[in-house]
Amino acid sequence: MRARNWSEVVITVLVKTAGYSAIVFVLLIFIFLLRESAPALVEIPLKNLLQIRWYPIEGYFGIVPLLGGSLVVTIGAALFAVPLGLGSAIYIAEIAPRWARELLKPLVEVLGGLPSVMLGFIGILVLAPFVRVALDLPTGLTAFTGAMLLGGMAIPTIVSVAEDALDAVPRTYREAALAMGATRWQTIWRVTLPAARSGVLTAVMLGIGRAIGETMTVMMVTGNAPVVPTGPRALFMPIRTMTATIAAEMGEVANGSVHYHVLFFIGIVLFLISLGVNMAAASVVFRGRKRAERILS
């Protein structure tokens, strides 16, 4: 009996450690990004980091064009991913017959599992030439091309989270609406969707978070020109994102150089952005849950 109690204690400690490791990893990531990026702030004044010129060889480390590039691609991706993702989620959760549902869900999962380098590969060989000819541009390697592919990568996230949210709406809501003479469409649009809105909002935010952080695809298809985007035309020109800059340049810098520290600084900016997006998404979820508990009690 004693030996058994002893093993119970050991197991409890082990799984507890595993659980708390998640917190430890987030802290470690923050600490190590900070450690490697802090010298950048010492060596170059913050003012220089906020310039509009990124040209590391001559010591210009302005991250504004990179922020702008990430912003343009992300907005473009959202324009594709939000309507398609939410539309697909509504179709799968509310409209599709059972067999179609069983077929569509794994297919969307396949999209989620496609490696980003694979989409970049297809982007270079197929999509970029097509975009160049179809839109009559000097090059097909533009923010638009990246946004299309990135939108595709954000869709599975949006579909699965939004579909869960729609599924969680109690069936009685729908029955009540239908019983009052609403059509199925009115029920979806005015009852189910509003009832699931916090989950739907979370889905959109997580999808956008995914798009901001994508690296390989944008590095391969957006042309990598660090120009400050101005106006909507920027969508059809080459740009360069923060993620692509890190991936493309980290391999070539000397460890401990200014350039190296600045790349880590971009990393910490990305880390903080993703933290912001995810905290916001999480708080929506927690708030929604509290509201549901209030209604049910």
Binding site: V26, P115, V117, M118, I122, V126, G213, M220
Partner: protein, 290 residues
């Protein structure tokens, strides 16, 4: 009543048809490109696949020969990731589902997991470079790459495993405890076996993502070209996704056949994991007695 106000049944029917059409269109616009991309890659790449392509080393600056080191590298990286992420992730999920009290600390763990899931893959790469390659001096190695990928995969494994554990009805636990089982006995003999298919599905989907990732291994594990296979966990390695990136962007004059062939091998690697996960899940669902 306000829902139906003011519109004739025919108008409402027409709006419904329009709405359904829109949603169907969204699904088709999402699904069709996936099917086309997968089909196109196989159509273009299958002619390049041969026994020698799979078992030979690259030759002539990678413009000829096979991709064996990249296949082996991805295999080891995926295995290493699993060896680290599975015990840790399943353990964390067991804690959250079976042990954790509902308090501030547990909520902090959940928020940490949500944040881990959202951190960009290239930031994991930076972190891996900072901590494993440089600080712990593992160098650019399979070990550093696997550790980096494992931390990135952790949130997927934790959340899917927890979901699978929570799906086991509470009455199972109550019966086991009432028969004199301890908490760990109950988990190991009752809860885990019941949740196993769900856990496997989550683990495979997590590893599928790790196998296809490039950004986290760029600075932690991947080598441009190596004339031999890795012999220890401290060796750098070639890897399929990184190799596809290299030959499609960094090597001029690369034969298109080899590019598509590499894409086919990577796609097969990833898709077969996906299919296994889907099959396990649907078979378990059909056989479930509760």
């Amino acid at each position: 009543m306000s829902i139906a106000r003011g519109r004739s049944a025919r108008v409402r029917q027409r709006i419904q048809r329009l709405g359904f059409f829109g949603m169907t269109l969204a699904v088709l616009l999402t699904i069709t490109p996936i099917v086309i991309i997968v089909g196109y890659i196989y159509a273009q790449g299958m002619p390049a696949i041969s026994w020698t392509f799979l078992k030979d080393f690259p030759r002539e600056g990678m413009r000829a020969g096979g991709i064996l080191p990249a296949i082996v590298g991805t295999f080891w990286l995926t295995l290493g990731t699993g060896a680290i992420a599975v015990p840790l992730g399943v353990g964390a999920a067991i804690y959250l589902s079976e042990y954790a009290p509902d308090n501030r600390w547990t909520r902090a763990i959940r928020i940490a997991i949500i944040n881990l899931a959202g951190i960009p893959s290239v930031v994991y790469g930076l972190f891996g470079l900072g901590i494993f390659v440089l600080f712990l001096q593992f160098g650019t190695s399979i070990l550093a790459g696997s550790l980096t990928l494992a931390i990135m995969t952790l949130p997927v494994i934790i959340s899917t495993t927890e979901e699978a554990l929570r799906a086991v009805p509470n009455s199972f636990r109550v019966v086991s405890i009432s028969l004199g089982g301890t908490q760990w006995q109950t988990i190991r003999r009752i809860v885990l076996p019941q949740a196993l298919p769900g856990i496997l599905t989550g683990v495979i989907l997590g590893l599928e993502r790790a196998a296809g990732e490039t950004a986290p291994i760029l600075f932690t594990a991947a080598a441009f070209f190596l004339p031999r296979l890795p012999t220890s966990a401290f060796d750098a390695t070639m890897a399929l996704p990184y190799h596809l990136f290299v030959i499609s962007t960094q090597v001029p004059g690369m034969p298109i056949q080899i590019q598509y062939g590499t894409a086919v091998v990577l796609l097969t690697f990833v898709l077969s994991m996906n299919i296994v996960a889907t099959v396990i899940r649907s078979r378990a669902r059909a056989r479930r007695q509760w």
